[in-house]
């Protein structure tokens, strides 16, 4: 395309999938992400893709399992309660090492919760969600442009690690309109996939599975997965450091909360308080090292989340006691207010003098 257009986050995510060569989508409607399936149901017929509305999120994720096992570039999307239903399948997909992309446009929970934006699925996304020792690679965009960019890259990362990749956004990111430009992809070539289900023609049988009844064999399988996660940790950590060089206090936030924090930082700097922002872009792997470094230079960090304190646990692990970690969060679909962030920072700065 190479031209800026205005799109909602949901539409941009869907179009990015098409541009990245994704041709299979299985999903189930849920607010606030239904524009993704709606968009693809119109767009896929133009490019020969397969759009299928499944009977449930459970069926959706196993259709993804089947299609990924068959070698397709495949995705699903949902929002918090639907992602909970998918957790069993995500565990199976991780165990069978199938590449796919899962989009979670988060809304307030727990339970049916609400439909307004939230970041309350941080634990679920980064610490497992389903059963067993596994990790999903989690990308957290904060603008519509970044959502499109990360969505395109997500498919390559999924292929590279034969692992599910999750795009973790919130209701506002899905619903808001911003300018977006689709980066030209040099190719949608994918790594060789000799393990896929294509019919055992001229080769031995391929089996896509996750059962290992012998404990020593299952342990080896787990250790293999663990080595893969270590590689992700080594290679894929991403973080934005914004005005951190001269900062006296650091705000840590991801996604929508980070954008609100940026406005707060602008106001704070007009008041001569040098605040900066650390914005993790990958939530797994988490950029602990960046936090360790900034913690050596400031006395205080303020974590801002649209939940009641989830990422803060990882921030504390990174900071490792070298600085005070404070928290400001809103939940239930309420979003953080930059004036309140400003007030919190002013209070922290005043008290630490």
């Amino acid at each position: 395309m190479g031209k800026k257009t205005l799109m909602t986050g949901n539409e941009a995510i869907a179009e990015a999938a098409v541009q990245a060569g994704c041709r299979h989508f299985f999903g189930y409607p849920i607010t606030p992400q239904s524009e993704i399936p709606e968009y693809l149901s119109k767009r896929f017929p133009e490019v020969g893709g397969c759009f299928l509305q499944a009977e449930s999120e459970i069926a959706s994720i196993y259709m993804v399992f089947g299609a990924a096992g068959a070698g397709a570039r495949v995705m699903t999307s949902s929002s918090s309660p639907g992602i909970s239903l998918m957790q069993e399948g995500i565990s199976y997909i991780s165990a069978a090492e199938l590449p796919c992309v899962i989009v979670n446009v988060m809304r307030g929970g727990p339970g049916l919760g609400g439909i307004q934006p939230s970041q309350s699925d941080y634990f679920q996304a980064t610490k497992g969600g389903g059963h067993g020792d596994y990790h999903v690679l989690v990308l957290a965009p904060s603008t519509v442009q970044e959502a499109a960019d990360l969505m395109m890259e997500a498919f390559d990362l999924a292929d590279k690690y034969r692992n599910p990749v999750m795009i973790l956004g919130d209701g506002f990111l899905g619903q808001m309109i911003e300018p977006v430009e689709f980066k030209h992809m040099s190719s949608t070539d994918r790594p060789a996939r000799d393990w896929t289900i294509t019919g055992a023609k001229g080769r031995a049988q391929n089996v896509v599975k996750s059962l290992y009844l012998k404990p020593d064999v299952l342990e080896q399988h787990n250790l293999g997965l663990h080595r893969k996660y270590q590689k992700m940790i080594k290679n894929e950590r991403r973080v934005e450091a914004y005005l951190t060089e001269d900062a006296q206090i650091i705000i840590v936030a991801f996604g929508m909360a980070a954008r609100i924090a940026k406005t707060a930082i602008k106001i704070l700097r007009e008041k001569d308080i040098k605040a900066g922002l650390v914005r993790p872009i990958t939530l797994f792997p988490f950029p602990y090292q960046t936090l360790e470094r900034v913690a050596e230079k400031v006395d205080n960090l303020l974590v801002v989340e649209m939940n009641l304190g989830q990422m803060i646990e990882d921030v504390k692990l990174g900071v490792c006691g070298k600085a005070e970690v404070h928290f400001y969060g809103r939940v239930g679909g309420m979003v953080p207010n930059y004036d309140e962030i400003v007030a919190d920072v002013e209070k922290i700065v005043k008290e630490s003098r």
Binding site: H24, F26, C50, L52, A54, E55, S56, I58, A59, S60, Y62, M63, V64, F65, G66, A67, A68, G69, A70, G71, A72, V74, E88, G89, Y92, I197, T198, G199, A200, K201, G202, A204, Q205, N206, V207, V208, K209, S210, L211
Partner: protein
């Protein structure tokens, strides 16, 4: 000397882990013979369930998935939508298909998904040790209905073939048994017909197989065979519930 009986090419030369008198081994062989006779080994994909037959891929040598409990039809759907040229079948037990996976099987049928399901109905959970299944008969004792299943507490056994036959997307539905040679031959015919229904793109096909499960039934193989005929067949009558319409 002329060979009159040999191992199908679609089977590995190994013995199965099933109990003496179990029906799974027979049905595995019928599927393998069908694959051989249709000449489709190189383009057949199986989806194994959770249950005793989870290790189906150790016996059949076509490409295979191993599904989560109940989800085989969804996995088969994903595969078939990517590779419409493949012949995709699921192999599911009664707990898998008729309890935890009812939504998946009904909607695969409703979509007229061009897959084949081999449904093993033995009225019990075999692998987990003999608990009550959605197809357990009234009065039947299991480890979770120790005094016999009562309709008052747990309702009635599901007749899956009859239910699925009402769905427009289901092209072919038949119930067979593998309790005697005659029924085994009929079962073979049905399985082959189901695969052909898929290969002709006519829609969803399912063969329900009444199968003996002697160990959890706490019976000898001989008594188990008798039980299929005397107890199961009156409640689960054999026959074709939906016949494939001819193409065009």
């Amino acid at each position: 000397m002329k060979k009159v009986f040999e191992r199908p090419k679609s089977m590995y030369p190994v013995s199965t882990h099933y109990c003496p008198g179990c029906g799974h081994g027979i049905v595995h062989r019928l599927i393998a013979e069908t694959i051989d006779e249709l000449g489709i080994l190189e383009r057949t994909v199986g989806v194994a369930p959770v249950g005793c037959s989870v290790l189906l891929y150790n016996y059949l040598n076509c490409d295979m998935y191993e599904a989560a409990h109940g989800r085989a039809p969804a996995i088969a759907t994903g595969c078939k939508r990517v590779h419409p040229e493949l012949v995709v079948f699921t192999y599911q037990g009664d707990g898998d298909l008729a309890s935890i996976g009812t939504a998946e099987i009904i909607h695969a049928a409703a979509r007229g998904e061009k897959i084949t399901t081999i449904f093993i109905n033995n009225a019990i959970y075999g692998m987990t040790g003999g608990q009550m299944a959605p197809t357990t008969l009234i009065g039947q004792k299991t480890t979770t209905s120790p005094f016999g299943r009562t309709s008052k507490d747990t309702g009635y056994p599901l007749r899956v073939s009859e239910i699925l036959a009402t769905i427009d997307g289901a092209a072919y539905v038949e119930r067979v048994a593998v309790n005697d040679p005659k029924n085994v031959m009929r079962a073979k015919k049905a399985i082959k017909k189901a695969f052909k229904t898929q290969m002709k793109d006519l829609g969803f096909s399912l063969v329900e197989v009444l199968s003996q499960c002697p160990t959890p039934w706490r019976m000898s193989p001989r008594d188990a065979i008798k039980w299929v005929e005397e107890k199961m067949m009156p409640y689960y009558p054999l026959g074709e519930f939906k016949s494939p319409k001819r193409e065009g």
